[in-house]
Symmetry: T
Subunit: 149 residues, 12 copies
């Protein structure tokens, strides 16, 4: 069995379905987890799906993924805009890194223009709600399979 | 009994009375807690008063306040200047949000000009030392009472 | 009898109740004057309450307050964003200076971010409508009493 | 038969496979067209796939898509960074708009940070080479099907 | 018969009446053409009225106007914000240049603040919908008549 | 008889005909008043034409216009670049607001690029000397008539 | 008798000797008036010495000086940093213009770096307290005498 | 016979001799073509000399040069300042690229400071009028000969 | 026995020897701990050596050091660039503060130019790999000894 | 006999009378030396008058003045805009420092706005040609006499 | 015999052939001197070829060239980016000024974008290694001959 | 005997002990020279210790060090902030480069934030007064020994 796809979620995503539904939609994080698992399974991967509000926890998990993930899908939420620590942790990761966003950051506040994760991700999917995750998982799986060739 | 007023304190406020007394005064955080409780009580509210040095903990507590607070008084201290995560958590809160500061940020270092909390607070009281908290609590109580009308 | 608390109001505040009620509320400046007088009276102070659309008039009054006020509460409105003359006049004042705003400037146009009055005020109350004035008057009274100790 | 998915390609993409293969890979635009057609077909859509080096031509085609496309997938290439005309044309389009990029613009020259298309796209897929197109087509098909419900 | 007044229209204006009617109104470009012809006729001028989505075409036409127009009225639309080529072409024109806008650019996105055409136009009329054109044509006719004195 | 069209002039315009004639032309403010009256009369309006060097006076008059004008034509001169007070007063006005300039600000000093009046005006006419006023009055009359329909 | 030297003083200078004596010294404005009169007399000139807190009044006086002064010495104080109206009025003046400052603006707050008066003054004397005025008057007298040659 | 030297000219250069002769001189583009042909011939090269006002056309020709030119001399005119598309096309070219300008852009408007062509050119000759072309052709020939060694 | 030298390490330093060895070298954090202990011992000090990925933990430890350290050596890693909370905690510390970096931040990404720790450190050693720590410990010991004189 | 007044001149001032006479006038540096000597003599001071094109030489002389001058008058010319070394040397000087300029830097290129000398000078005289020096010498003498009281 | 062509070289060019050969090539400054002499001789000019690491020396030589050169070719190297003194000296020169660079500054560090020499040079040749000098000498000779006509 | 360690000192360091002792301490440059010699001797190196106020002299010496130094320790003082020439010279040096500062530049004026030497130094020691030199010499010696292995 290959290493799992790590899917890491940053702050406030545990409130999905509650928070500003006109921007993020009504789906909960559990709905998204299920959809991700399905798509990953189609490519023969399990997923490791987690959420935290703590920057340091996110850094710990990225370090764990550096050792144990076939690929890393990350929705850094707010920490994408402020965390150099996360940026530095991601540079430790040799596995493919896919960044996902529920909404389109370019259409929101100007302070969301700066993103430290985008700089080190292999690719990004944003703006499609839960579908961003599903497509991101597919991209991660394809990358992971290509590398293991 | 109505929901309590949450009063959340950010990093280094546990050192109050020690830290730069020429800026913040000699009162400790316990002194402030007592003064806040008195003023809240005058409006028929209890308070829930906490402090942490951890950004993620502050986010967790704000989420808790979103479910259980009549109003939220927050002194984000340094995290007001850097935490988009806190900003996003506060946008989840329907209850009134009052930001308080012991000193006047405009008279200090330029990096204190940017404040992510101010953008989402209903109002702000700053520069009056412990009195900032007391007045902020009064504003929070009045807001909370008006909404519950 | 102690010196009065000066409460000075800048441009367009004479139109309160007319102007953008979704931002400023329906109270008129006379309503605010009455509420301020009540709160000041509770601390044993009279108030001197004035409004003008003229920057120079505001400077004249601040100079008058430098000689005759126990404390100064000022809502500079637009002149807070543009008047260095007002800034310089306020630096002449030894009495406590409290700045008040009806709304939260941080949530409005970017040109309201710069404020010359905030730099020289002892503290600020903003965002609570007429309650900003009332709390600001209390802060001013407390400051004034502490200094006269 | 539903309206087709328009897939529009901006300047220099006709040289794909020639141009900087270390960034864009060795696939040609015809390879991408075929992969897009397959994925669209899986959702029951035909595609209309075009390329031009002319900004005005791109504007003309976007206007055509406004009348005749189920969804629009666009790789604006360089014009994404400079064309307000393209931006304005895209605002005419009611159908879903998906922006795709072969590479990750955030990892390239700073003048690629500004993008007028991203502001008006519903979502973006970037960094996965030809796979960006395929995932973008899937997103477009899903959006188009949801709207036609 | 004097030389005609050239009235040149930039990208997306062919979609007038369709595009964002809350900003631009419901009139079509043909309606505007007719209104312009009337006002010009009142001053004894014919008009030459054209539209294109192509920057290069606009440059070609401005060069033609340099040889054959009594005055030039131009609504550069998006190219006003991005086209130095158009700026350079307009500097070739000795005839009066009047810039017109349907809406008020100052009330829109910040990237519309920069305008290369405004720098070289004799004057500007903006914000009055189709009336902007009519007033602009009158200004152009008056300028043209004064020069031919 | 309908309410008059207010035409308000800012600082130094009383020196017209003296000041930098190569930029502003030789016409005096009285010449302009007469031309405005004529054009307004053609639409059935009287005018109220005033000039002041005092920002506060201009604010007072705009407040008066908010109560008594069919439309407001304003040449704010220097105060357009610096007066947030004027901006705030104009937001009080429900009647149409037309901004006029004798010269083209875009062709002058860079500090004339910022204009607080343009942001709140319905439209602008600039660069045509006294003709800017005449066309601006026509626009104001047309707006006023449309609203009174 | 030649025209007098106008010496105009901006806001808060009436408080000289009171205001921040560590920056401005203990001399009053009357002391300065006397010293200026002496130096001017040595060159055969009378002085016209005034002070106001009102920007508009300053503009009125500059216009008066344009008609009646041999030379103009101006300490614009705060209005030098904010008043485009004053800048425009000074451009009306053909007589020599000398700007004086009691202190050195370069050693103070950054918002004192921008000065609209300096741009149109013939020369500047700053940093020497009352002596700045005396030297400025001498410069003005010399300029005035040279022009009347 | 070796491949020709491509010499491509951007917008408005067809008007040479007409446009702002105090900046560009009185020579026409045909004069320049002849001078270039002479210098190229001295090194044994033919030239392919073209002009267009269309950005897309310029991109098409640069792609053609990538396949068929010994070296590329380009005067991008206005498109040098705005065209990322041109920049991207030039990166496709393996042959030497020489940028030429008739005048010195550093002595003109500030928006001419940014130049996307300069970043990818091997070298630049500017400020010598038609001589810029002649020297640029020599540089191109020398580069081309060195590579074919 | 004197108080120990606290040596605090920020995020991702636990991965030393793994992470980007071309920048940081192959030594692990344990190697560095040993070298630091040796050098401190030569001056008669023990060390307290810790690492965390959590900003709040770092703040807690700095507060602990404020009570119990002879001197503080800190490698804030990424948090130096983003943490105002850390800055504020360090201002609580009376003991000497020495900042160390393995590499030279000035030679890396531009977002590493801003550093909140450098502003409050007594001194900095950077660029020498593990030797930065050793020299920093010596500096800390010397400072500590001088203060205890 | 008191220490002399040092008068130091920066680069290109040896060419005075040759260089851009429309800005600097026709007087030579020798004419200025004579005028300075006269005015200094009136206050009982000798002068030490020098010029150099070398920044390091200017620094050497300022250090010499720190030991031997009653006051220092300096026209740093271009080095005022670029030399931090000169700034640092001037901070070594306890004697009064007067900066003089022949012309008004505010009316020239924008890179002349930054001036390292102005920050550390006691006062400045600019814009009066040779008279700037004479007035500056008087200011220096008065300062020097006051200090020696 | 006409005046010579001055060819002045700034700092570190004496190390040519040693310094970063991948940017500057392996030719020494003596090789360049010889090539320049040849090309100048073809036009009937001698050359005066010098190098210095001292900014002041460069200024002295430019002043000498102002009196004695037929034309001035200058490679200011680093001083082009920092020396206002050099800029001011070059404005003293009536003879033609040609700036040369071995490499293309636009492709190097961002601090090389600002160049004070380019602003005052008649033209520039950059990016062609030693050939930049040779072409620059030809341009200088042609300019010099045209002026002496 | 190995090559010596060059220790080069920039402007105003010859005045050490005189200049702003609250920032730099009371030690003279000779004290520092002695301390450096001791530490270098402990590693078997001699030192070559020099100071100059001239930027060009510093460049000359750096070139000399490129040929003759085992390592280079440099305190560029003010020239670190302004000298691109020094930057370029240091890039010529293959030996290790250590930058030292007596004080912490981050705690001083903002114009000391830019430093051209830091970009090319291997490492930096700042803020420890004379101890900065001693530690810097140790780092230099260690680097030099490692390279000569």
């Amino acid at each position: 069995m290959p290493n799992p796809i790590f899917i890491l979620n940053g702050p406030n995503l545990n409130r999905l379905g509650v928070r500003e539904p006109e921007i993020y939609g009504a789906e909960t994080l559990d709905d998204i987890r299920a959809a991700c698992a399905d798509r990953a399974m189609a490519f023969g991967f399990n997923i490791e799906f987690r959420q935290t509000n703590h920057e340091g926890q996110l850094v710990d998990w990225v370090q764990e993924a550096a050792d144990a993930a076939a690929a890393l899908v990350i929705n850094p939420a707010a920490y994408g805009h402020t965390s150099v620590a996360l940026h530095d942790a991601l540079k430790l990761v040799d596995a493919p890194i896919v960044e996902v966003h529920l909404s389109n950051p370019a259409a929101r506040e100007s302070f969301r223009r700066r993103n430290y994760v985008t700089r080190v991700a292999d690719g990004t999917v944003s703006g499609f709600g839960a579908t961003s995750y599903v497509l991101g998982v597919e991209a991660a799986c394809r990358f992971a399979m290509k590398r293991s060739d």
